[in-house]
Symmetry: C2
Protein backbone atom coordinates (compact mmCIF):
# COMPACT_ATOMS: atom_id res chain seq x y z
CA UNK A 1 0.00 0.00 0.00
CA UNK A 2 2.77 2.39 0.90
CA UNK A 3 4.39 2.01 -2.49
CA UNK A 4 1.23 2.90 -4.31
CA UNK A 5 0.94 6.07 -2.33
CA UNK A 6 4.59 6.98 -2.81
CA UNK A 7 4.28 6.69 -6.57
CA UNK A 8 0.81 8.21 -6.83
CA UNK A 9 1.61 11.23 -4.70
CA UNK A 10 4.88 11.87 -6.48
CA UNK A 11 3.09 11.58 -9.80
CA UNK A 12 0.48 14.12 -8.68
CA UNK A 13 3.17 16.55 -7.58
CA UNK A 14 4.99 16.12 -10.84
CA UNK A 15 1.89 16.87 -12.90
CA UNK A 16 1.18 19.96 -10.87
CA UNK A 17 4.81 21.08 -11.18
CA UNK A 18 4.79 20.72 -14.95
CA UNK A 19 1.50 22.61 -15.22
CA UNK A 20 2.28 25.22 -12.59
CA UNK A 21 3.53 28.04 -14.75
CA UNK A 22 0.71 27.62 -17.20
CA UNK A 23 -2.33 28.78 -15.30
CA UNK A 24 -3.81 30.52 -18.33
CA UNK A 25 -2.72 28.12 -20.96
CA UNK A 26 -3.24 28.12 -24.65
CA UNK A 27 -3.26 24.96 -26.73
CA UNK A 28 0.44 25.20 -27.52
CA UNK A 29 1.38 25.29 -23.82
CA UNK A 30 -0.82 22.37 -23.01
CA UNK A 31 0.82 20.35 -25.75
CA UNK A 32 4.24 21.18 -24.30
CA UNK A 33 3.20 20.04 -20.83
CA UNK A 34 1.77 16.81 -22.13
CA UNK A 35 4.90 16.13 -24.11
CA UNK A 36 7.16 16.88 -21.12
CA UNK A 37 5.27 14.34 -19.01
CA UNK A 38 5.18 11.85 -21.85
CA UNK A 39 8.94 12.18 -22.27
CA UNK A 40 9.57 11.53 -18.59
CA UNK A 41 7.37 8.46 -18.77
CA UNK A 42 9.18 7.28 -21.88
CA UNK A 43 12.58 7.26 -20.21
CA UNK A 44 11.24 5.64 -17.04
CA UNK A 45 9.44 2.99 -19.15
CA UNK A 46 12.68 2.17 -20.91
CA UNK A 47 14.43 1.69 -17.60
CA UNK A 48 11.64 -0.33 -16.01
CA UNK A 49 11.20 -2.81 -18.84
CA UNK A 50 14.87 -3.71 -18.69
CA UNK A 51 14.44 -4.76 -15.09
CA UNK A 52 11.12 -6.49 -15.59
CA UNK A 53 12.31 -8.61 -18.53
CA UNK A 54 15.69 -9.48 -17.07
CA UNK A 55 14.68 -13.07 -16.40
CA UNK A 56 11.94 -13.44 -19.00
CA UNK A 57 12.26 -15.72 -21.99
CA UNK A 58 12.23 -13.83 -25.29
CA UNK A 59 8.91 -12.93 -26.84
CA UNK A 60 7.62 -14.77 -29.86
CA UNK A 61 5.66 -11.94 -31.47
CA UNK A 62 4.12 -8.51 -30.91
CA UNK A 63 1.00 -9.95 -29.31
CA UNK A 64 3.19 -11.81 -26.84
CA UNK A 65 4.88 -8.54 -25.92
CA UNK A 66 1.51 -6.81 -25.50
CA UNK A 67 0.33 -9.58 -23.20
CA UNK A 68 3.42 -9.06 -21.09
CA UNK A 69 2.68 -5.33 -20.91
CA UNK A 70 -0.93 -5.99 -19.93
CA UNK A 71 -0.01 -8.45 -17.24
CA UNK A 72 3.45 -8.27 -15.69
CA UNK A 73 4.26 -4.67 -16.54
CA UNK A 74 0.84 -3.39 -15.47
CA UNK A 75 0.86 -5.32 -12.20
CA UNK A 76 4.31 -4.02 -11.32
CA UNK A 77 3.49 -0.42 -12.08
CA UNK A 78 -0.24 -0.08 -11.48
CA UNK A 79 -0.95 -2.98 -9.08
CA UNK A 80 -3.46 -4.77 -11.30
CA UNK A 81 -3.76 -6.31 -14.73
CA UNK A 82 -5.31 -4.65 -17.73
CA UNK A 83 -8.92 -5.83 -17.80
CA UNK A 84 -9.25 -6.25 -21.50
CA UNK A 85 -6.90 -6.39 -24.47
CA UNK A 86 -8.20 -6.14 -28.00
CA UNK A 87 -6.35 -6.06 -31.29
CA UNK A 88 -7.17 -5.80 -34.98
CA UNK A 89 -4.16 -8.07 -35.68
CA UNK A 90 -2.70 -5.28 -37.79
CA UNK A 91 -0.66 -3.50 -35.19
CA UNK A 92 -3.37 -1.71 -33.22
CA UNK A 93 -4.04 -2.71 -29.63
CA UNK A 94 -6.57 -1.36 -27.17
CA UNK A 95 -5.86 -1.87 -23.49
CA UNK A 96 -8.80 -1.25 -21.23
CA UNK A 97 -8.30 -0.71 -17.52
CA UNK A 98 -11.59 -0.36 -15.64
CA UNK A 99 -9.98 1.11 -12.56
CA UNK A 100 -6.82 2.87 -13.57
CA UNK A 101 -4.52 3.49 -10.60
CA UNK A 102 -3.71 7.11 -11.38
CA UNK A 103 -7.36 8.07 -11.77
CA UNK A 104 -8.73 6.52 -8.60
CA UNK A 105 -8.14 9.70 -6.61
CA UNK A 106 -10.69 11.56 -8.71
CA UNK A 107 -14.36 11.33 -8.03
CA UNK A 108 -15.94 8.87 -10.40
CA UNK A 109 -18.00 10.02 -13.30
CA UNK A 110 -17.62 12.87 -15.71
CA UNK A 111 -16.94 15.85 -13.47
CA UNK A 112 -13.17 16.05 -13.92
CA UNK A 113 -13.04 14.49 -17.34
CA UNK A 114 -11.21 17.38 -18.92
CA UNK A 115 -8.35 17.04 -16.44
CA UNK A 116 -7.79 13.40 -17.30
CA UNK A 117 -5.24 13.91 -20.10
CA UNK A 118 -2.80 15.53 -17.67
CA UNK A 119 -2.80 12.42 -15.59
CA UNK A 120 -2.43 9.98 -18.45
CA UNK A 121 0.45 11.52 -20.40
CA UNK A 122 3.10 10.05 -18.13
CA UNK A 123 1.56 6.57 -18.37
CA UNK A 124 1.34 6.75 -22.16
CA UNK A 125 5.04 7.52 -22.12
CA UNK A 126 5.72 4.58 -19.82
CA UNK A 127 4.09 2.17 -22.26
CA UNK A 128 5.77 3.71 -25.30
CA UNK A 129 9.18 3.57 -23.56
CA UNK A 130 8.72 -0.04 -22.56
CA UNK A 131 7.71 -1.07 -26.08
CA UNK A 132 10.53 0.95 -27.58
CA UNK A 133 13.11 -0.96 -25.57
CA UNK A 134 11.59 -4.20 -26.80
CA UNK A 135 12.11 -3.03 -30.36
CA UNK A 136 8.60 -1.82 -31.10
CA UNK A 137 8.09 1.79 -32.14
CA UNK A 138 4.61 2.90 -31.28
CA UNK A 139 2.19 5.74 -30.79
CA UNK A 140 0.33 5.51 -27.49
CA UNK A 141 -2.73 7.57 -26.66
CA UNK A 142 -5.27 7.38 -23.85
CA UNK A 143 -8.92 8.10 -23.62
CA UNK A 144 -11.32 8.35 -20.71
CA UNK A 145 -15.04 8.39 -21.05
CA UNK A 146 -15.92 7.69 -17.44
CA UNK A 147 -13.53 7.87 -14.48
CA UNK A 148 -11.72 5.82 -13.29
CA UNK A 149 -11.83 3.63 -16.36
CA UNK A 150 -9.38 4.27 -19.15
CA UNK A 151 -8.49 2.99 -22.59
CA UNK A 152 -4.99 3.05 -23.99
CA UNK A 153 -4.57 2.74 -27.70
CA UNK A 154 -1.24 1.46 -28.98
CA UNK A 155 -0.47 1.68 -32.66
CA UNK A 156 2.70 -0.11 -33.68
CA UNK A 157 4.69 1.72 -36.33
CA UNK A 158 5.89 -0.62 -39.01
CA UNK A 159 9.17 0.43 -40.55
CA UNK B 1 12.15 -4.61 -6.63
CA UNK B 2 9.88 -3.10 -9.22
CA UNK B 3 8.58 -0.48 -6.85
CA UNK B 4 12.02 0.74 -5.99
CA UNK B 5 12.77 1.26 -9.63
CA UNK B 6 9.47 2.99 -10.31
CA UNK B 7 10.06 5.50 -7.54
CA UNK B 8 13.79 5.92 -8.15
CA UNK B 9 13.46 6.47 -11.88
CA UNK B 10 10.59 8.90 -11.45
CA UNK B 11 12.60 10.76 -8.84
CA UNK B 12 15.58 10.99 -11.21
CA UNK B 13 13.39 12.35 -13.99
CA UNK B 14 11.84 14.85 -11.66
CA UNK B 15 15.22 16.17 -10.53
CA UNK B 16 16.38 16.51 -14.10
CA UNK B 17 13.13 18.25 -15.06
CA UNK B 18 13.45 20.77 -12.26
CA UNK B 19 17.07 21.48 -13.14
CA UNK B 20 16.63 21.40 -16.91
CA UNK B 21 16.24 25.08 -17.64
CA UNK B 22 19.10 25.99 -15.39
CA UNK B 23 22.14 24.67 -17.22
CA UNK B 24 24.23 27.70 -16.35
CA UNK B 25 22.92 28.33 -12.91
CA UNK B 26 23.79 30.91 -10.37
CA UNK B 27 23.35 30.41 -6.66
CA UNK B 28 19.88 31.94 -6.68
CA UNK B 29 18.61 29.50 -9.32
CA UNK B 30 20.05 26.54 -7.52
CA UNK B 31 18.30 27.61 -4.34
CA UNK B 32 15.00 27.82 -6.26
CA UNK B 33 15.40 24.31 -7.66
CA UNK B 34 16.24 22.87 -4.27
CA UNK B 35 13.24 24.58 -2.75
CA UNK B 36 10.92 23.34 -5.53
CA UNK B 37 11.99 19.76 -4.90
CA UNK B 38 11.83 20.22 -1.16
CA UNK B 39 8.29 21.56 -1.48
CA UNK B 40 7.17 18.58 -3.53
CA UNK B 41 8.66 16.25 -0.95
CA UNK B 42 6.95 18.17 1.83
CA UNK B 43 3.48 17.67 0.40
CA UNK B 44 4.13 14.01 -0.42
CA UNK B 45 5.51 13.46 3.09
CA UNK B 46 2.36 14.94 4.58
CA UNK B 47 0.23 12.56 2.55
CA UNK B 48 2.33 9.50 3.24
CA UNK B 49 2.52 9.89 7.00
CA UNK B 50 -1.26 10.00 7.20
CA UNK B 51 -1.42 6.58 5.62
CA UNK B 52 1.46 5.12 7.54
CA UNK B 53 0.15 6.19 10.95
CA UNK B 54 -3.46 5.30 10.30
CA UNK B 55 -3.33 2.27 12.59
CA UNK B 56 -0.51 3.35 14.87
CA UNK B 57 -1.00 4.15 18.52
CA UNK B 58 -0.25 7.78 19.34
CA UNK B 59 3.33 8.78 20.04
CA UNK B 60 4.46 9.54 23.56
CA UNK B 61 7.17 12.10 22.73
CA UNK B 62 9.34 13.55 19.99
CA UNK B 63 11.89 10.77 20.28
CA UNK B 64 9.12 8.25 19.78
CA UNK B 65 8.10 10.04 16.56
CA UNK B 66 11.69 10.10 15.33
CA UNK B 67 12.01 6.38 15.95
CA UNK B 68 8.92 5.83 13.85
CA UNK B 69 10.44 7.94 11.06
CA UNK B 70 13.70 6.00 11.22
CA UNK B 71 12.02 2.64 11.15
CA UNK B 72 8.53 2.38 9.64
CA UNK B 73 8.61 5.50 7.48
CA UNK B 74 12.10 4.81 6.16
CA UNK B 75 11.34 1.15 5.38
CA UNK B 76 8.20 2.08 3.50
CA UNK B 77 9.86 4.78 1.45
CA UNK B 78 13.47 3.75 1.17
CA UNK B 79 13.33 -0.03 1.77
CA UNK B 80 15.59 -0.08 4.79
CA UNK B 81 15.88 1.36 8.26
CA UNK B 82 18.03 4.29 9.21
CA UNK B 83 21.29 2.80 10.46
CA UNK B 84 21.88 5.20 13.28
CA UNK B 85 19.87 7.78 15.16
CA UNK B 86 21.53 10.27 17.47
CA UNK B 87 20.08 13.14 19.44
CA UNK B 88 21.29 15.81 21.82
CA UNK B 89 17.94 15.52 23.66
CA UNK B 90 17.34 19.20 22.91
CA UNK B 91 15.50 18.88 19.64
CA UNK B 92 18.32 17.99 17.26
CA UNK B 93 18.38 14.57 15.63
CA UNK B 94 20.90 13.08 13.23
CA UNK B 95 19.74 10.20 11.07
CA UNK B 96 22.52 8.31 9.40
CA UNK B 97 21.78 6.03 6.44
CA UNK B 98 24.85 4.17 5.23
CA UNK B 99 23.31 3.19 1.94
CA UNK B 100 20.72 5.75 1.03
CA UNK B 101 18.34 4.47 -1.66
CA UNK B 102 18.41 7.55 -3.86
CA UNK B 103 22.19 7.66 -3.96
CA UNK B 104 22.89 4.04 -4.82
CA UNK B 105 22.80 4.75 -8.53
CA UNK B 106 25.88 6.93 -8.24
CA UNK B 107 29.35 5.47 -8.18
CA UNK B 108 30.56 5.30 -4.62
CA UNK B 109 33.11 7.73 -3.32
CA UNK B 110 33.59 11.40 -3.84
CA UNK B 111 33.33 11.82 -7.61
CA UNK B 112 29.76 13.12 -7.79
CA UNK B 113 29.66 14.65 -4.36
CA UNK B 114 28.64 18.07 -5.61
CA UNK B 115 25.54 16.64 -7.30
CA UNK B 116 24.29 15.05 -4.11
CA UNK B 117 22.22 18.00 -2.84
CA UNK B 118 19.95 17.77 -5.91
CA UNK B 119 19.06 14.24 -5.02
CA UNK B 120 18.48 14.86 -1.35
CA UNK B 121 16.21 17.91 -1.43
CA UNK B 122 13.09 15.87 -2.13
CA UNK B 123 13.85 13.49 0.72
CA UNK B 124 14.49 16.33 3.16
CA UNK B 125 11.05 17.59 2.21
CA UNK B 126 9.51 14.17 2.77
CA UNK B 127 10.82 14.06 6.32
CA UNK B 128 9.82 17.64 7.07
CA UNK B 129 6.32 17.01 5.68
CA UNK B 130 5.88 13.86 7.71
CA UNK B 131 6.97 15.56 10.91
CA UNK B 132 4.83 18.58 10.18
CA UNK B 133 1.71 16.43 9.98
CA UNK B 134 2.61 14.94 13.33
CA UNK B 135 2.71 18.42 14.83
CA UNK B 136 6.46 18.98 14.78
CA UNK B 137 7.83 21.95 12.87
CA UNK B 138 11.37 21.26 11.81
CA UNK B 139 14.29 22.20 9.62
CA UNK B 140 15.73 19.22 7.75
CA UNK B 141 19.07 19.28 5.98
CA UNK B 142 21.20 16.54 4.48
CA UNK B 143 24.90 16.06 4.16
CA UNK B 144 26.97 13.54 2.23
CA UNK B 145 30.64 13.00 2.79
CA UNK B 146 30.99 9.69 0.96
CA UNK B 147 28.41 8.16 -1.39
CA UNK B 148 26.09 6.37 -0.87
CA UNK B 149 26.02 7.19 2.83
CA UNK B 150 24.07 10.18 3.99
CA UNK B 151 23.27 12.09 7.16
CA UNK B 152 20.00 13.92 7.71
CA UNK B 153 19.90 16.53 10.41
CA UNK B 154 16.51 17.37 11.88
CA UNK B 155 16.18 20.40 14.12
CA UNK B 156 12.82 20.68 15.81
CA UNK B 157 11.54 24.22 16.07
CA UNK B 158 10.13 24.97 19.48
CA UNK B 159 7.36 27.51 19.44
Amino acid sequence: MADDALFEFLHMEMVSLVYKDHASMNKQDRATCVSTLEGMGFRVGQGLIERFTKDSPSFKDDLDVMKFICKDFWINVFRKQVDNLRTNHQGTYVLQDNKFALLTQFSSGKQYLEDAPKYLAYSCGLVRGALSNLGMDSVVTAEVSLMPSCKFQVVIQKI
